[in-house]
């Protein structure tokens, strides 16, 4: 397999994952905005922009005012936003075209169709009435690509690179949400039994599609420690950091078996894995949640870079 194709597959799935997570974040923000007064709503939109790393670009364009329509249009379709959802879907499709010989016709068609639909939907500004259906479309299309992938792709190195892209991105996105929201969790971590900002917490869970799973596991009891543990350490939840790292481990192991050699990224993964598995949620909180997440995000980025080097994604 060509290194350039591995790179294309990796980024195809990173872009798709990021697009999907971005709309989840918008969805959670939108929900919050509907239930809160305008001050809180604008706070929430601001935190969406910060989580996505778009603060500088957004404020250069709109100043410090975080209006809902401005935020979701900027995030979804603004031409001046290089990280817009539309750009990501375009990026996914460009990469899919590049690696057309590495993916099945069904995967290609699903990606191409996503782009065609989104391009049409985002051709004009989105208002609050249309927002829901735009967000749904992104989620449904991502699901469709995943389904085509699951059902038609050989489980070989190509699949491994696709999965590596997906879980590197997902781990990063979940960690970023925690990084921005940890202050919501923090006060209640230190005061056991304090009154919780349920809506805030609910938003955190919703933005990773985890509200149902969490309620089911915890019998509806919201507690800060529980949520942090759920998002970081719960190996059953497909958007937790631990889950993502299990997947990264198995896909890298598959590559090592197939290629018959070990490379530096395997060591990096083992270290990151050890950091997570040796820990309990209490230990993480004692050391500082913020610091833990910061270390995690940096390590995740290093791992991604090392994978690109080890497998000759670029010269």
């Amino acid at each position: 397999m060509l290194g350039r194709s591995a790179n294309g597959i990796f980024w195809l799935f990173r872009y798709l994952e990021r697009a999907e997570n971005t709309v989840r974040l918008l969805d959670a923000g939108f929900r919050m905005a509907l239930t809160r007064n305008s001050n809180d709503a604008s706070d929430e939109w601001r935190s969406v922009i910060i989580t996505l790393g778009l603060q500088a670009g957004f404020e250069a364009r709109f100043g410090g005012e975080y209006g809902g329509a401005q935020v979701f249009n900027y995030v979804l379709r603004d031409k001046e936003n290089p990280g817009s959802v539309l750009r990501m879907i375009e990026g996914a499709r460009t990469n899919a075209r590049m690696v057309r010989t590495g993916i099945t016709r069904e995967v290609w068609q699903a990606v191409n169709e996503s782009w065609m639909k989104l391009r049409d939907m985002l051709a004009r500004p989105v208002n609050e009435v249309r927002l829901g259906s735009v967000l749904d479309t992104v989620r449904l299309q991502a699901t469709q690509v995943r389904g085509a992938m699951e059902g038609t792709m050989l489980r070989n190195e190509i699949y491994n690179f696709a999965r590596l892209g997906t879980f590197i991105e997902r781990a990063d996105n979940t960690a970023r949400i925690l990084d921005v929201k940890y202050y919501v969790l923090l006060p209640s971590l230190s005061y056991v039994g304090s009154s919780l900002d349920n809506v805030q917490w609910d938003t955190v869970l919703r933005s990773v599609a985890g509200e149902r799973a969490y309620r089911w596991l915890h019998a509806g009891r919201l507690d800060a420690r529980g949520i942090a543990e759920f998002l970081i350490l719960d190996q059953r939840f497909p958007r937790s950091l631990a889950f993502c790292y299990n997947k990264l481990r198995s896909n890298l192991a598959h590559l090592a078996r197939e290629y018959g050699d070990k490379v530096a990224s395997h060591d990096l993964l083992r270290e990151a894995d050890a950091r997570m598995h040796a820990q309990t949620i209490d230990a993480i909180i004692d050391q500082g949640l913020h610091q833990f997440i910061g270390t995690f995000i940096a390590g995740n980025a290093r791992l991604a870079q090392q994978i690109q080097r080890d497998y000759r994604f670029i010269e």
Partner: protein, 477 residues
């Protein structure tokens, strides 16, 4: 010869409106279908093409980066007997082309014998000095040829262009057939049409049979070299690589290593044996040709000449696409095969000759004038459909540089019906069959790409100029 459709040969209907034998089965089927079937299916087909991404890019058109080539649902049908005759002619022509190219890059017997003027080669950019004295692996120059044929009567097929360089369009031949079979499955149970779908495996076999001397293994590694996703034919490059199970590489994936061309894989650099390049000669090797090229591989020509890699088609084959050289094809065929040419050439005036130029200047309004090195329908004049002003402007260019042009009569190209809002209507077509050459022989896929001018009366079938395509059927006996 004129431009009027009335005098053109229609392939479906004879002059009395009767259905010709080749179309009998199709016409009978069509009669039994509900009236809006073709329209409905046409809409389905377009959605299908968009979804599968069968598009081409138009240069210099930012707005519509990717466009569809319009597909017409009425097939173009060729009888078994007609195809047999055509195949013999194509086979002869392609044999002659390869012998001619070998001769041009070796002793140039044809020039010595006085049948081809030496001036056609002197200073001709398509003649690559780097190929002189070198014989490509297996002696094959044109691994893939896409001869453009036009028809003017029952038995009158003429070669319009040989396209020995890097012919494109074969993916449309394949996808058009897939589309037709998906849209009208029962039609194919009624009319027996010869298969084209094995073209990619034939191509893979043919290319593998041309492995270079340095290859030692069981199965040569074949790669398709594309300029990248922004090239107008990228879809086809990806499609062929996919169907052949070959790697789709760009120049940046390749480099010279240990006297071989190697591609950067996830496991390190691995040698490539046969490169089916869809990059022009000029861009192939920045060390030998265009130094600014980033599409090729630095040093590939040295590796090639040392037997480390096969390049298909061989560099330098473009010389036979030169339209002045084309005009000598009847002589060329006879010189190398010792046979009378089975396929006719379109009569051609070489504007580099004073008499011919005089005639052309006097008759510009009736002629088609083309650049010697042009292709794709760009830079040409179609006298009968051009305004006085256009003709005058073209005349100035022609007078300034007559060597750069040839002229041909405006042919009464045959017509085949297309589906229009008002029902079936005749439109002019050409045919590009695809021919594979390997040391094992010449392999012609029964079918090809039919391009059709969608505008009434128009003779320009190029997709870059608003032409469409049709599925092309060769009937089984």
């Amino acid at each position: 010869m004129t431009n009027s459709s009335a005098s053109s040969y229609d392939e479906m209907l004879d002059t009395d409106g009767g259905v010709r034998a080749a179309y009998a089965g199709y016409a009978k089927w069509l009669e039994e279908q509900p009236p809006n079937l073709l329209r409905r299916k046409g809409i389905e087909a377009e959605a299908f093409f968009r979804r599968t991404g069968i598009t081409f890019n138009v240069y210099g058109n930012d707005d519509a980066e990717e466009r569809l080539i319009p597909f017409d649902p009425v097939p173009r049908i060729i009888s078994a007997d007609q195809w047999r005759k055509l195949s013999r002619g194509i086979d002869q022509r392609v044999r002659a082309l390869n012998a001619f190219l070998h001769d041009l890059y070796h002793r140039q017997e044809i020039v010595r014998s006085g049948r081809l003027p030496a001036r056609l080669l002197e200073g001709n950019a398509a003649y690559l000095a780097a190929m002189a004295g070198f014989t490509p692996p297996g002696g094959v120059y044109t691994h893939i040829v896409g001869i453009d044929l036009v028809r003017t009567g029952e038995d009158d097929f003429m070669v319009l262009e040989d396209n020995a360089r890097t012919p494109s369009g074969v993916s449309y031949m394949l996808e058009n057939r897939e589309t037709m079979m998906a849209m009208f499955p029962e039609l194919f149970t009624r009319v027996r049409v010869r298969e084209v779908s094995d073209y990619p495996s034939r191509l893979a076999r043919s290319l593998a049979a041309c492995a270079p001397p340095a290859f030692d293994g069981d199965k040569p590694t074949v790669a398709v070299l594309t300029p990248g996703i922004y090239n107008s034919a990228y879809f086809e490059h990806a499609f062929l690589a996919d169907q052949m199970g070959a790697e789709l590489v760009e120049g940046s994936d390749l480099r010279v290593e240990n006297g071989r061309i190697a591609m950067r894989t996830t496991r390190g650099y691995e040698p490539v044996d046969v490169i089916y390049r869809r990059v022009d000669d000029d861009y192939l090797d920045p060390l030998s040709f265009n130094p600014d090229s980033v599409l090729g591989v630095a040093g590939i020509m040295d590796v090639y000449r040392a037997g480390g890699v096969t390049i298909a088609n061989a560099p330098g084959t473009g010389i036979s696409d030169d339209k002045a050289i084309y005009s000598f094809m009847p002589e060329i065929v006879e010189f190398y095969t010792g046979e009378k040419p089975l396929l006719q050439n379109v009569p051609t005036w070489r504007c580099c000759e004073a008499d011919a130029l005089g005639y052309v200047l006097d008759n510009l309004a009736e002629l088609v004038v083309k650049e010697v090195h042009g292709s794709g329908g760009y830079g040409m004049l179609i006298g009968p459909t051009s305004s006085r002003k256009e003709i005058a402007a073209f005349e100035a260019k022609l007078r300034a540089n007559p060597d750069n042009y040839i002229a041909q009569p405006t042919l009464a190209l045959s017509t085949v019906p297309i589906f229009t809002k008002a029902g079936l209507a005749p439109r002019h077509v050409d045919l590009r069959p695809f021919v594979l050459v390997s040391p094992n022989g010449i392999d012609i896929t029964p079918g090809g790409l039919t391009r059709v001018a969608l505008k009434k009366g128009s003779l320009v079938v190029n997709s870059s100029q608003g032409g469409g395509t049709k599925d092309s059927w060769v009937l089984d006996d």
